[in-house]
Amino acid sequence: MTVTIRPPGTYRNERSFPFCPGCGHVAILDALDAALVRRGIDPARVVIVSDIGCSGLSDQYFATSAFHGLHGRSITYATGIKLADPTLEVVVVMGDGGTGIGGAHLLSAARRNVGITVLVFDNLNFGMTGGQHSTTTPPGALTSTTPSGNLEQPLDIAATAAVNGAAYVWRGTSYDADLTDRIVEAMETPGFSLLDIWEPCTAYFVRSNKVSRKGLSEIMESLGLEAGVLARRDVPEYSAEYRRVNAGSAPAPPPEGIEPEFESALDRRFVLVLAGAAGGKIRSAARFVGIGAMLSGLWVAQRDEYPITVRSGHSISTLALDSSPIEHTGTNDPDLLIALAPEGAATGRRWLSAMTEADEVLALPGVAGEIETSARVSVLDPAAVPGRLGPTEVALAAAVAGVVHAGLFPEEAVAEAVRRAGGRHAERNLAAVRAGALLGAELG
């Protein structure tokens, strides 16, 4: 269906503005309406996004689509709207209050350059809630929360947006004759655009601080803030760029199944713990053993335990193996714990003290001395087999030794798991599996 849209003469609806006499909002919204008329976009495709404060009432006076959200968050909603449908014309209407509470959103929007247009109704204070100071209140200004004069430096919204990469930034006042032109320019900019529009709050700021019509520009000048277009950059618009870089990528393939190729005689739950240190490839060793177990027809759960640091501290993988589905992934009492590093042995102390004579511990030579347990402890010495294992191969070799020693399933299943994973470490890992099988055989 094709519908021809005739550009309307106004994007306003029949409702009259509710703002105080002399409030700058009216001039800005009239300029926005004029800009929309000039652009001539289907009103359904224009989305005015507002948040909280007097400026947040604005969207109700337009016959367009509209989103009225929470204080300071309008840029986030607008970003989502534009990313979901880049053909929409998305205009944010927010106050200096919202810019303060949503400061992180402003910075990120400028950096991200999603093609939305932000009009900041900057009246230098909180108008709706009683004239409190905002992030743009000038130093020394009197507000209901700065009765002795504002002690804070103002946030330079426009320069902040400009320095962080926004495609178009302008600063001026609601009195400026070129306001409509600037709004059109901002809307026509593909990336992120922001207009910092200073305006009088006739209820509070201009009354408390005796600001005249020219006063806004004088304050701007006294603070050394430049007016006019502060940034104009030819940067890619994010939602278009996102689609460009991802075009033609194939959907993620469904997960591949693992069919048993080997056999296991295990007929009960068996818990194997690899207790080592970060960087020791504990988790990947456990993964190879786990897939090997699956290739042998077992059900497996691999639970990894590590501190919040990445390459330091303990790294422990718990493998629960069973001939039937595993409902409970935890363990209080492993059948076999392989102690690969002091960090792992220390964190695994709770298990070591709970293990009984029916359980077993295999410990590397440097770790065996630190083990306190009722379980049987054997030393596992990787140096006892031919070929030198690298530090990242010891865990896999030790795990395979444990599998062979406990008679869980054929070591060839782990080798097959390594082969299937492929990659540049495959040969070294296969050597580790062979070494592990020898170590396991020696243990008996």
């Binding site: 016959a63 689509s65 959200g69 979901a84 929409l88 077992l298 992934t329 209080n332």
Partner: protein, 364 residues
Amino acid sequence: MDGATAIVRGALDAKCTFFAGYPITPASQILMAMMRDLPRQGGVAVQGEDEIASIGMCIGAVMGGARAMTATSGPGMSLYSENLGLAVMGEIPLVVVDVQRMGPATGAATTVGQGDVQFARWGTSGGYPLIVLAPSSVPECYTLTVRAFDLAERFRCPVVLLTDKELNLTMRTVASADFVAPRVGDRPAPTGEGDRPYRYEPPGAVPPMRRFGDERVRFTGSTHDERALITKDPEVVGALNRHLAAKIDEHTDEIEMVASDLQDGADTLVISYGITAGAARSAAAEMRAAGRAVSVATVHSLWPVPERSLREAMTEVRRVVVAELNLGQYRREIEPLAGAREVVGVHRVDGELIAPEEIAEAVG
């Protein structure tokens, strides 16, 4: 497969088209997988500057026509709070995954917990219903994610998928036969009535979801009339607030999901959910093998409390054991349903999972 992978597969199969999230352990795996896989099927995934932005983008994207999901952990849920309220008030279908870790505050990022059960329900101001689903296995992470999308669409509301570190990151063997996606409802075609986006009749009805661009549509988080214009008219506001509750409370039968495995002659019912339900089922299997009769119920829809199913499951028993990784957050919901039955809690908050033996001991 781990729960994170299953959730992502569920979201992709439910035709999720938008994801935004912020890195947080133990939910980051969902963010990373969505960043990788969603654009490959034409969707958009973004890492927000914080959690507030992430859920905000999702809400905006839904109004732009997307089907959206976000994922975080407890500390992120704290930051989602205000926008969860916005999604309730603005009637936004949205799936919110909370991968619980031990709290409060920073707690322990890599440690399992189930401390967000009440928070997930009551986590925003105003006190309106949220639907909360809790998978207890990896395949359920898949099926309940898809179900969460369906309920979100059906009721135009945020649906929380409450999981945990253990379920999300522990890799487990799964059977492909368990991955059957429920159907997800489609949004209605535009009708030209977009100027009344919040028209509901009767109060428990759900207004059809509309998107920007097809027609002029307004969205609002303020108390509003059917045109989404702000109002304080007591009649209109009262009706709106009753509607937000009624659209869920009057349809609990469509939401209730409890897997009851009842045994003849059992005097005790074990109620559990999430990761702990696996231990409960495991305990029941061991006890039955040893000749001890026991019934077990896994709650998949935590909120609204599935009262009908739980009362039914309790009918034949005189004791109820509730097992959970908190100090009794769901037990307090079970107690009023239990009547004269004894309710026993099995609770741990030390970062360890509840073991089947602990549940068996409580059953006696």
